[in-house]
Subunit: 253 residues, 2 copies
């Protein structure tokens, strides 16, 4: 069955987009069919894959406004085995616009129904908030993978995310946290080691063995419009996301 995964975390800058894009690319390299969905008005996922967010015709915005038509019309092929539903900068106003629609949290789930069998993985990149876009991602998903920067503010924010996931389970009972991935880890510094330790104590088996190290190549890749796998295949970032893809693939939810 298709695994639909939301890379959710309301804390900003914890590598949601970087994880969605590069985990997706690493899963494609393992032969999986993957759909990425950009659900953030910043459209960083769209940008990071080399597209211009200002030029997109059919986007997640239109998908949410026409949920009953299915999302197929907005799917673009990025490369062998990798598809994307892009975002548009104009989406910023959509949250307030959708706020009044009936079933406003279930629009994405409805739109994805006709697509599921085409993919092994659907990865969703939400914005840094717990608003309507993130709720749509959590309702549409079967699993949540939480990218977690090993810093104080990020760690403190996880309780709020867990609270929101509990509430969403009323609309989506099968939703589970399938993993927490430590990002921007720098084991040379004490803070990183201490916070990673606290994360492993709090989440136990849910924390992936694989950690994503701080690696400047990951921050350079978006300028090229390529995933880290294509931009710098032997970099620490590429090796880490490949290892994460392997670990995720083996741990069937």
């Amino acid at each position: 069955p298709t695994r639909t995964i939301a890379l959710a975390n309301q804390k900003g800058g914890v590598a949601k987009t970087t994880t969605c894009l590069n985990l997706g690319a690493a899963l494609v390299k393992r032969g999986r069919r993957v759909l990425l969905i950009d659900l953030d008005p910043q459209a960083n996922l769209t940008l990071g894959l080399g597209l211009d967010p200002y030029q997109q015709q059919a986007t997640t915005y239109e998908v949410l406004l026409n949920a009953d038509k299915g999302a197929g019309f907005a799917v673009q092929s990025i490369g062998e085995g990798l598809d994307l539903i892009p975002a548009t900068i104009d989406m910023a106003a959509a949250e307030l616009e959708l706020a009044g629609k009936i079933g406003r949290e279930t629009l994405l789930r409805e739109a994805l129904t006709p697509l599921r069998d085409r993919y092994d993985y659907i990865l969703i990149d939400p914005p840094p908030s717990l608003g309507l876009f993130t709720l749509n991602a959590l309702v549409a998903a079967s699993e949540v993978v939480i990218p977690l920067q090993v810093h104080v503010y990020a760690l403190k924010g996880v309780a709020q995310l867990q609270q929101t996931i509990k509430l969403v389970q009323k609309l989506n009972p099968s939703l589970q946290i399938s993993g927490v991935v430590c990002t921007m880890v720098d084991r040379r510094n004490n803070l990183s080691r201490v916070v990673e330790q606290q994360i492993r104590e709090t989440f136990g088996q849910l924390v992936f063995e694989t950690i994503i190290p701080t690696n400047i190549t990951l921050a350079e890749a978006p300028a090229s419009g390529q995933s880290i796998i294509d931009y710098a295949p032997t970099s620490a970032g590429a090796l880490a996301y490949s290892a994460l893809a392997e670990e995720l693939d083996h741990a069937q939810a």
Copy 2:
């Protein structure tokens, strides 16, 4: 006259909170009377100053719901010369709740009116979005200081922020961008130098001379509930925010 400054940027994790907290503390050290306002449901500013966001009685949430009463009831003293209006985790639902109120973007401006003469600076820490909280910050502010991480996604997002500021000028004609501060700068790496260069070419004189270097001590300080000025007064982070405070203080808007 009081300078009311919004530390706005919808990109997540660019050091909005870190800049609001530590710039505020550095201005207090220069003898200025400062009010900080936590306008983010993550309540990181509240947390970073040593308060428990789950225990706050009078917060920005109540201020927005009772704008006509003035914000004075929610002001807490943090230390000599530094006051805070804290946030609460419960605020996450407030954005949708306030969406239907008349004058919903002007609530904070109205609530701050009775307080202005008490302070030299009022610094506002918004969430990573362009929603109602950030709009309230921009309408209430006389200036915007943009914390800007020297990375690709952050640089690409600035155009959208400038667009929003232009729209807000209809409600707040005196609103100006008074500065852009480069954050998490690491001049040893090429990406950081290239992006900083692009920022200086785009914004010219608006970019502060002072840059904030990547400095792990800044990420450690929130665990102590102290500003960097108190936690590690001789660290690179403390020196940088003190220099920024001096530069801001001299550049009357």
